[in-house]
């Protein structure tokens, strides 16, 4: 059976691209888009797939990761879908890919100006945590009324002595729009700041796309005396490659139930196994992000 190039019909892809252009023009702003039916159900990466379909050209090289891994079932199937419907090359090497579609992680290796990272987003609205009404969140975005988001962080510090949000850690993009970075661990938040690459976010079920263009300031919300901190792995290292500066997954290592830690980014782990000095290459300190001075 033959499909249109990259599955979606040309008009649909064009409408997605129009929405993406608007998203890039207004960093962090959620733009509604058509969100077509796909052969998999909403909630399984359909937002990301539609964004990637709209971008694909015959010369693109695609990489798909899920929780950092190239070899998970969902990632493999999505990658095979692009290979079959658009006849593009696929890869597991981060450096080689022109478009990387991802869920839950930003690769450990620095992305370049010629690469696009497409993130699958289940919940695009960062304010949903504090406000259930769509009309009200629209108003809050329009007026930049984000005080209540800080109340959630305040309560977190009252209860736990620090900000404990592990993922979907809210960010302020370009000093204007509050944005959910999707369910990436907050470990990855600093990579969004002043990056070389383009980040595109697609939420299929919620029918929203948004974007962070290259060289855009992305500030993770925090207090002046409780600055943003990435998770600490308390000096643990990856069992396979020995890295201490990557995001680690805790895994059950063998039948005895022994627990160990491994890099969640499998492609990067392989690079490190070959060369322990392989650099991550992100330009700035990834444990914190410079914040604006209080005015």
């Amino acid at each position: 059976m033959r499909y249109t190039f990259a599955f979606l019909d040309e008009q649909s892809k064009r409408s997605v691209r129009r929405a993406l252009l608007k998203a890039v023009a207004i960093p962090g702003y959620q733009v509604p888009f058509v969100s077509r039916e796909l052969p998999i159900s909403y909630g399984w990466g359909t937002g990301g797939i539609q964004v990637t379909c709209a971008l694909l050209g015959p010369n693109d090289i695609v990489k798909v990761i899920d929780q950092g891994a190239d070899d998970s079932v969902n990632a493999l199937n999505i990658k095979r879908f692009f290979a079959r419907t658009a006849d593009v090359f696929t890869t597991t090497l981060t450096r080689e890919a022109t478009i990387i579609q991802t869920r839950h992680r930003i690769p450990e290796e620095c992305l370049t100006a010629s690469q696009i990272l497409v993130l699958q987003v289940p919940y695009p609205e960062p304010l949903r945590l504090v406000e259930p009404r769509e009309t009200e969140t629209n108003r809050m975005h329009a007026e930049g009324d984000y005080g209540r988001m800080y109340v959630a962080l305040y309560e977190d510090i009252v209860r736990h002595g620090e900000i404990t949000l592990p993922w979907q850690y809210p960010t302020l993009v370009n000093g204007r729009y509050l944005m959910s970075p999707s369910p990436i661990p907050r470990f990855d938040n600093p990579k969004l700041h002043m990056a070389e690459c383009l980040f595109l976010f697609g939420a299929g079920r919620e029918k929203r796309v948004y974007a962070i263009p290259p060289h855009t300031a992305v500030e993770s919300l925090a207090f002046d005396d409780y600055p943003f901190r990435a998770e600490s792995f308390h000096g643990r290292r990856c069992e396979r490659c020995g890295s201490t500066d990557t995001y680690l997954d805790e895994v059950i290592a063998d039948v005895s139930g022994r627990r160990s830690h491994q890099c969640s980014d499998t492609a990067f782990c392989l690079q490190r196994q070959a060369n322990p000095a392989h650099p991550r290459g992100w330009g700035h300190d990834l444990t914190s992000v410079p914040r604006k001075e209080e005015t």
């Binding site: 007026e143 930049g144 005080g147 309560e155 510090i157 009252v158 002046d224 209080e294």
Partner: protein
């Protein structure tokens, strides 16, 4: 002396055609508490909500002397400017704390919310300011991180008051602040409001159906009936020598 708030010909008509208030005019001066009395449905709350910028008026004007923005025509401002004023300079205390407080957040967070909305971003300073406000409204500091649902009605009103005072507003609007409270707790809350008025010099608009409350707090009073102001003047004079038949009825039905 220039008034903090100067209301002229304020008229509110609801979409259903029901008239809220008609041609209401008054001034509030710095440090003053102005009482607005009348029975249910007399238009008191329409006036209050219009000034609190939660209900757009049909006609009329309100000039507000903003400490930070200068004199502003309240109803001509855009939504963002109105919110800015509502979060910093014009505060409202509801009769029902459930309408103002978030009962899923701690009492302290409810007060902190007002500070965070006004761009406070230093946790330590926010905590210190919340503690200061708790002391000012005579709330137990050790209960700062408890949920307001565990507080008594009088304490909930104090939390609301602390929240309203958080950004040192120029104008405080009180909507039946003691409604539904025990008489003894009412008295203590009224004392507190009077002390705050003296200590902070905040201008207040006090809406109440209870003449006794108005007599205790307000030096000047406006009497409303069926959406219109029927009598206005010095509170003691109105209570001792009411001119209008309606005011006479109100005064005579007071419990003594």
């Amino acid at each position: 002396m220039t008034p903090v708030l100067s209301v002229r010909d304020l008229t509110v008509t609801y979409p259903s055609g029901v008239v809220g208030c008609v041609d209401v005019s008054f001034d509030i001066f710095p440090g003053e508490i102005l009482g607005v009395v009348g029975e249910s449905g007399s238009g008191k709350t329409s006036v209050l909500n219009a000034i609190a910028l939660t209900l757009p008026p049909t006609r009329g004007s309100a000039r507000f002397a903003s400490p930070r923005l200068g004199t502003q025509a309240l109803f001509a401002l855009n939504a963002q400017q109105q919110r800015w004023l509502r979060q910093r300079e014009i505060a409202l205390v509801h009769q029902n704390p459930h309408r103002a407080l978030n009962f899923d957040l701690s009492a302290g967070a409810n007060v902190a919310e007002a500070l965070l909305a006004a761009d406070w971003r230093h946790y330590g300073r926010i905590r210190a300011r919340v503690a200061e406000l708790f002391e000012r409204v005579e709330l137990d500091l050790t209960r700062m991180d408890d949920l307001p649902g565990r507080f008594s009605g009088g304490m909930q009103q104090r939390v609301q008051l602390a929240r309203a005072l958080a950004n040192s507003p120029a104008l405080l609007l009180l909507d039946e602040p003691t409604g539904g409270l025990d008489v003894s707790i009412q008295a203590r809350l009224l004392d507190l409001i009077r002390e705050l008025s003296r200590g902070l010099g905040t201008a207040m608009l006090l809406v109440s159906h209870d003449l006794e409350v108005v007599r205790l707090l307000a030096r000047r009073t406006v009497v409303m009936q069926q959406g219109r102001v029927v009598e206005a003047g010095v509170t003691d004079q109105i209570l001792e020598d009411p001119q209008e038949p309606y005011t006479q009825l109100l005064v005579h039905s007071m419990l003594t």
